[in-house]
């Protein structure tokens, strides 16, 4: 007789023959069989048969029982027994998490899953296929791929293993700066086509859209084109020469004026087409790709033309109603001597950018000198806020083609709650958690070892990652030696300080809390530095945007610790180092409050200000931009840019029970209004696709940073 039985969920329990006996009695009862006198014989028979299996599993037991029943000519009983087992199997399958998630998706019950990402329209079939793949990938990662302590910590909410619906099941990475220049100048192969270097800005922009679509289908985070104005400038020149030739052929009087006018028009059209393409793309990830364009440093007329085209296209809006485009995210570099001050050669571009930001929210700005101070060199973030360092400073292309391998975030408020007002204990617990984060991050990295370039030709063989490998080459050579970053994220610094030191005074008014908060982030930074030294990997500290995480951690902590004022009572945790969204301060004060953090958390950061409608006061917006230039590297302005297509009102809609509502004419028909809010680093349209509950609450509580009387 076997000593142990392995249950279906993997648990081992002692073998008990009475369980089998009970099952047979039930089966006999259901077919009115009265031969219970056979039971002892049957049981001995089964025990003897099973003794060869040490330990044995449920399937083996069932087969042996069935065989024994048939041997004793109890065919009806065997049939009933089999039917009963089958019903149990189906029941068990129904109760399983995997099945529950899949049914939740089909029946649209699981709103957490459906609203997890505001960029995914969970009604459409390709998105549902992506979500389905995500459910399976997550299930298998948790049950088969990840260390069990990491899975438990994730489930329990100590840490968050981001993007489990993609990696580690798939050997995918997070976000990247595409080496567009290399791909365009050297050509590449995509699908069935050989793509040659483009000969006009129209073609170059079109090919760029194709590349973005391909790349975004192979990674799960953001796709960024850094310095797009400089990279595409040669194709503006090519277009100019083409138009010049035409002018000469047709004996046009002023060939230069003609060619320039045609080139300007072509450039605008090319970027308008690119914006439409990006916004109509649907990647295999079931969403519009998260695309970011970084631009602004180019000085030639070609680069200036591109910069103006990008901004004018965004200002023009999408479609008949000229709706605000949500993608690509636009990030403009501001640099003294180039475009910052009145006498700078590209100051006109800054003015256009201010107009654009006031009407369309983007561009956000990268303050050149501050980016260099924080991260060692200038570059656009990968995705919305992930920054590379300057490790490859001797290379000719220090950033293009590099990437981030993924994020694991730590739940700081949880640790503070466990520490029970004891800072020393907080730091001791924090160090324990960090060891777990390291092992979680290493599981991300390890999954990419031994993977061949052929899994993503666009990334590894055709140049997006900057180096072209052969199909069977190992991709890991692109990631080691700090070429790729892998990030520790964190959330809820505000709630952490409250949990340890009480709700009052507010951290904004409390130097002690501020010093503590900085010490926490420095501790995290030290950990990533140590991990860097221990491995040859580019560990970095990243200020997590936490679109769905802000609610998830808070919910789990509320379950465990209850509703704690200043900590779990809002339904969400504050984003990374950001100032509590409810605190009324000026945007200037907010910038100064957040100033210390980007330099510590140099692997990912952004600072925001909440503004009233500034479409008629660009100077005020410029004042804040100029102030930010002296203090923070990366700044975004959130301003109400809602629009009513019925009465023409532009500004901030009221959030009512009927949904978003025009304050001028009370229109709340989603078809004829445009409502835009920033969700994480990106924009979203909450009237079309609702945010998750925690984010919605956070957005509702945001106060304008310009309403503080003395």
């Amino acid at each position: 007789m076997p000593e142990h039985v392995i249950k279906r969920d993997g648990q081992t329990i002692p073998f008990n023959i009475h369980r089998i006996e009970t099952a047979i009695v039930k089966a006999m009862g259901s077919v009115q069989c009265h031969q219970t006198h056979l039971l002892p014989l049957l049981c001995t028979d089964i025990e003897r048969e099973l003794s060869g299996h040490q330990p044995c599993d449920i399937d083996t037991i069932q087969q042996v029982v069935e065989a024994a029943l048939i041997r004793h000519r109890l065919v009806d009983v065997a049939r009933s027994y089999i039917a009963y087992r089958r019903t149990r199997d189906i029941e068990r399958e129904r109760r399983s998490k995997l099945n529950d998630d899949i049914v939740g998706l089909i029946s649209r019950r699981n709103s957490a899953l459906l609203n997890e990402n505001a960029n995914k329209d969970s009604y459409v079939i390709p998105t549902q296929r992506d979500l389905l793949a995500g459910i399976v990938a997550r299930h298998i990662a948790k049950t088969q791929l990840l260390p069990q302590d990491v899975v438990q910590a994730h489930e329990h909410g100590d840490i968050h293993y981001h993007d489990l619906d993609y990696a580690p099941f798939f050997p995918m990475f997070n976000c990247m700066l595409v080496d567009l220049e290399g791909m365009l100048t050297q050509g590449f192969r995509m699908g069935n086509a050989e793509i040659e270097p483009p000969k006009s800005i129209t073609t170059a922009a079109h090919v760029t859209a194709q590349i973005i679509a391909q790349v975004a289908s192979h990674i799960y985070g953001g796709t960024t084109i850094d310095r797009i104005d400089e990279i595409l400038a040669p194709y503006v020149t090519a277009s100019f020469h083409k138009h010049l030739t035409t002018a000469e052929q047709w004996n046009i009087a002023d060939v230069n004026a003609y060619a320039m006018q045609q080139t300007e028009r072509e450039c605008f059209d090319a970027f308008q087409a690119l914006e439409y393409e990006v916004n109509t793309l649907h990647t295999s990830n079931g969403q519009t790709p998260f695309v970011t364009f970084g631009f602004g440093l180019g000085q030639g007329w070609q680069e200036r033309l591109i910069q103006k085209a990008i901004l004018k296209v965004r200002l023009a809006g999408l479609g008949r109603n000229r709706k605000t485009a949500v993608f690509p995210k636009l990030v403009l570099a501001i640099k003294e001597g180039l475009n910052r001050s009145t006498n700078d050669p590209n100051y006109d571009i800054k003015q256009l950018a201010l107009q654009c930001a006031s009407q369309r929210m983007y561009p956000d700005i990268l303050n050149y000198d501050q980016v260099v101070l924080a991260t060692g060199s200038f570059k656009t973030p990968m995705g919305c806020r992930s920054f590379l360092d300057n490790r490859q400073q001797n290379s000719e292309h220090p950033h293009a083609g590099r990437n981030n391998l993924g994020v694991v975030s730590i739940n700081l408020p949880r640790i503070a709650l466990l520490a029970e007002q004891d800072s020393a204990r907080f730091f001791a617990l924090l160090h324990q958690r960090l060891a777990l984060c390291f092992s979680a991050l290493m599981s991300r990295v390890d999954r990419l070892k031994g993977v061949k370039a052929r899994v993503a030709p666009i990334l590894y063989m055709e140049g997006a990652c900057g180096i072209r490998l052969k199909a069977d080459d190992d991709i890991f050579q692109l990631f080691h030696d700090g070429r790729a970053t892998v990030s520790l994220g964190y959330i809820g610094l505000h709630e952490t300080a409250n949990a340890l030191f009480g709700r009052e005074p507010h951290i904004y008014d409390c130097e002690h809390k501020q010093r503590f908060a900085i010490a926490v982030v420095e501790t995290l930074k030290q950990a990533t530095d140590q991990w860097r030294q221990k491995t040859d990997l580019g560990f970095s500290l990243y200020s997590t945007p936490s679109e769905s995480l802000c609610a998830r951690f808070c919910e789990l902590d509320t379950k465990e610790f209850g509703v704690i004022p200043g900590v779990t009572d809002k339904g969400y945790y504050t984003n990374s180092f950001h100032l509590d969204v409810e605190k009324k301060v000026t945007p200037y004060d907010k910038i100064l409050f957040e100033k210390p953090y980007p330099r510590i958390a140099s692997g990912g950061f952004i600072c925001y200000g909440e503004f009233p409608n500034l479409q008629h006061n660009l100077k005020a917006l410029e004042d804040v931009w100029d102030f930010s230039y002296r203090h923070v590297p990366y700044y975004g302005t959130n301003t109400p840019i809602d629009e009513c297509f019925r009465c023409g009102f532009q500004g901030e809609f009221n959030c009512t029970a009927k949904g978003f509502c025009c304050p001028a004419c009370a229109n709340h028909d989603p078809q004829s209004i445009s409502v835009t809010r920033r969700v994480c680093g990106y924009l979203g349209a909450p009237n079309a696709r609702p945010f998750n509950a925690g984010k919605q609450e956070e957005v509702k509580r945001r106060v304008k940073h310009l309403a503080t009387p003395l």
Binding site: D623, Q650, G651
Partner: protein, 169 residues
């Protein structure tokens, strides 16, 4: 004079980044007024020399440059407010001549008293007229209802010789 609120940094009331003072006291009592708590001249806090000093300092700040001062309320041209407002705007113009002053009043520009006109000569832009609720329009810039006007005073004075410039001290 009492004041209702002082915003050291404001971007909503006038162009650029500004300092904005909401004074107490208003006799127009417009229906739908967004700031009815400021009607009573005894509401709010006394406007002190310290606050006047603070406003001058804020306007002179170079770290966060201000384009100018905005006076709203209440009504800065409410008769009981005129002496305090006059001394404030005169001082701002004398000490910080490159700062502009915007003023919101419920009185009509053509119907100001001699005392009110004295203040006018230190003001760059006046937004005049009562708030008329049926004429309310959120699309308007710097004003609430369609009857109200945004008037650059220098140009208006040049066109309307209504103020005896000799009488301005």
């Amino acid at each position: 004079m009492n004041y209702h609120a002082y915003y050291p940094i404001d971007v909503v009331n006038g162009p650029g980044t500004r300092c904005t003072l909401f004074v107490s006291g208003c006799e127009h009592r417009c229906r739908g007024c967004y700031n009815a708590a400021t009607w009573n001249p005894h509401n709010g806090l006394p406007f002190t020399p310290q606050l006047e000093e603070r406003i001058l300092q804020d306007l002179a700040d170079t770290d966060i440059p201000r384009q100018g001062l905005s006076l709203s309320g209440g009504d800065p041209l409410y008769p009981a407010n005129l002496s305090a407002v006059f001394s404030l705007v005169k001082r701002v113009k004398q000490e910080l001549p490159d700062k502009d002053i915007w003023c919101w009043t419920g009185y009509r520009l053509g119907q100001l008293t001699k005392q009110q006109q004295r203040v006018l000569s230190f003001i760059d832009v006046l937004i005049d007229g009562p708030f008329v609720e049926p004429l309310k329009d959120p699309r308007l810039v710097w004003r609430g209802s369609q009857n109200q006007r945004v008037v650059p005073i220098a140009a208006w004075l040049a066109a309307n010789h209504r103020v005896d410039t000799q009488s301005i001290g």
